[in-house]
Symmetry: C2
Subunit: 435 residues, 2 copies
């Protein structure tokens, strides 16, 4: 079964992930050939500076990715460059010339997967991207295939290791955001420019990809409500701790049936408090974990390394084997499934819970005044407690689920009340019983 | 995309799982058709007593499964009867006549999947069986496809809900095995004849299937070392608790490189103590969870409902969609991958740790005598402690990993020593740091 014509692979990019792909293709060549039914042959590696890649045989290196993609003898293009351009142009060229594509590029796939899927469909080739979300964790294939006979209602998870490391450190040490970020940078958990991670762009892109697969609907980055962790304070963590919670940056994809009977999808990525007893609360450092709730299957959890060269390369290799098998057998995997065309719910209409901690003057009528602000917006309060006295009095409220816009309006109103000195901590709460 | 000719399905069996398959095929017909690209049409349901199935349209029911399988208009046979015969004969007939097969039958697939795979391969059709292991949890597809580019070294998990319920109750209440089994039976967690679960046959069958996929090697039930939980006592649970552990029935599949340099697989299902801090320790009641360790991906965990009608039906439906898509597109999924032909390691040569609690006479030289028995077999002791004095003295030892046969011989020797009144608890220990 390994004597078939080789499947010829072009690799675009050879950084942390790409270099591991090169290594594994070489080290596991015999196993991979047996699994595919034909050898996998790396025929070219496009990098910016060929001289800096002694780990790749020199004759494979090129600094011209477009020429590599255009080669007639390439069957399969593997893209681990990241970013939208030139990746999009290169992959479209690959697909249009009948080459299958394996990509780890979440930004590109969240920006506009439709164009890529349509190009793949027209050419009758494969477009796989398991490595784009949650690194080594098999997640996209289970959503796309294993749960293809079920109705997925919710996907919620920790999909960004950098922010999870920072929040874990803030939780463990009481450090503020800046100190925890500095530690993450020093240890290599955060990039020199941490914007994509810290501001939630990375998590939002992954949420868009997950929602698209879960709900059979095209979802792009612009459909995702995104909030980063840059404003999370040591006070937020302390407040979370006081109520038995911790803070995590969550990607949440929900199927919502509105009061009008219309089914919509809501997709968001933001920091939230979750109970310490929740399985996601114990996911530490650079690990990722994702919960999936489906009508028949119930709750499922997937857990593993969400980033890193070798784990991400494992996911890339899995896709390479699948795509190569398809080419050997003359078939094609499942293409895009976006038949449902569900509209996107804006964040204001999504039901969430809020935790609100207010520094208040310790005077009669404070609780009544605060309660009135919630009541005016139709938000019901689950718990309230006052901590401290005098100048150090804090009123801590946790609401029941209510439309996000109503909660936001309530908080705005509270902040203007004369007895409120400061809103010390305002954050959504997820994963509580009764959600 | 839904206007293609229907994919026609014959269902064999309509019990707890089958009735949910019927329901979901009906309720989700539009979604399933959109995902497959053609409608799924249930054309027959074979049951023992048609009169007892008012939930199925009468014209679909038959008590002749062989005739149903033989019908020319059937594309896909779904088997949820369980047991080896008549399932094997029916499925072979289906495959030989060019029908694809979806099965949830772990006993059959662990007994001899090779014959079925070979029949599927000859006919160029699909044989899928995600529901055979860990119910709704996507596990076989990730092993077979997502990790196809990686090297899996270990699979370890809780794959039997009945025994997990019983052991969870024994842990929580201090009850003995018989009382916990009675409770499980009363609550419907255990079948009237609980032998397959309690004696570990179910877990062993699942271990065989997992090992086959993980190691690309044919593994059958007879290759699996199996021990049930019938001999687990309240004293074992108490002893586990005293060392910060609990007891779980584990399925363990390992790739082992022997002293001779030969790579082998070791597959076992037995009760074991695991630390309470281990993620598997908190998997309660009827849930399943499986750890997978792969060279590049690192540790992955999959968690969800391991049994029950709807969860298992979700896995069956996922396979139906995959197989139906393949038929619509004229392709075929990945077949059996058993190229590695790794030999099976006997349990005696597998390295494990033991926990041994001995009721001893409280006299000088006891520890020296016990230590000598371990030393003679080359087994090194990690911890030892003595509890109580006089008639209630207990010596508790935990070993480092050593060949199972050496540990077994040590325990035999200890039991015969004059100062040992009784071996109160002997059990393997898994998941400790340093394993």
């Amino acid at each position: 079964m390994t004597g078939g014509a080789p499947v010829k692979i072009a690799l675009l990019g050879c950084g942390v992930v790409g270099s591991q792909v090169v290594r594994l293709l070489d080290e596991q060549a015999a196993d991979l050939a047996a699994r595919v039914g034909a050898p996998l042959q790396l025929v070219g590696v496009a990098v910016r500076r060929p001289a800096r890649h002694p780990e790749v045989p020199a004759h494979l290196l090129t600094d011209d990715p477009a020429a590599l993609v255009a080669r007639d003898d390439v069957d399969l293009v593997v893209e681990v460059i990241g970013g939208i351009e030139p990746a999009r142009t290169l992959l479209l060229a690959a697909l249009e010339s009948g080459k299958s594509v394996v990509s780890a590029n979440k930004a590109l796939l969240a920006d506009d997967s439709a164009t890529l899927h349509e190009a793949a469909s027209r050419a009758g080739v494969d477009l796989y991207y398991e490595a784009a979300v949650a690194g080594a964790i098999p997640l996209l294939r289970p959503l796309r295939e294993s749960l293809a006979g079920d109705r997925i209602n919710r996907v919620m998870g920790i999909v960004n290791g950098t922010t999870n490391f920072i929040l874990s450190r803030m939780d463990a040490t009481g450090a503020g955001f800046d100190d925890a970020l500095a530690e993450a940078t020093a240890l290599g958990y955060a990039e020199a420019d941490p914007t994509a991670d810290v501001d939630g762009y990375d998590a939002a892109a992954k949420a868009a990809i997950l929602a698209g697969l879960a709900f059979h609907t095209r979802v792009t980055m612009s459909d995702v409500h995104r909030e980063g962790i840059g404003d999370v304070t040591a006070a937020d963590l302390a407040s979370a701790r006081a109520m038995g919670c911790t803070v995590k940056l969550l990607a949440i994809c929900e199927r919502i049936v509105g009061a009008d009977g219309v089914e919509r999808v809501a997709v968001r990525a933001h920091p939230a408090m979750i109970p310490r007893a929740h399985p996601l609360a114990t996911v530490g450092d650079a690990y990722n974990a994702v919960f999936v709730e489906a009508a028949a299957a119930g709750s499922l959890m997937f857990y593993g390394r969400g980033a890193g060269g070798a784990p991400t390369a494992s996911a890339v290799l899995g896709d390479i084997v699948a795509v190569a098998r398809n080419r050997v057998s003359g078939s094609r995997g499942a293409g895009e499934s976006a038949y449902a065309h569900l509209p996107v719910q804006s964040i204001g209409e999504v039901d969430t819970r809020y935790h609100v901690a207010l520094d208040v003057n310790d005077e009669p009528g404070v609780l009544a005044g605060a309660a009135q602000a919630f009541a005016e917006q139709g938000v019901s309060i689950q718990t309230v407690r006052q901590e401290g006295r005098g100048d150090a009095a804090t009123l801590v409220l946790v609401t029941h689920a209510a439309p996000d816009a109503a909660l936001d309006a309530t908080v705005q109103k509270l902040a203007q009340m004369p007895f409120v000195r400061r809103a010390a901590s305002v954050m959504r709460v997820e994963g509580m019983a009764g959600d």
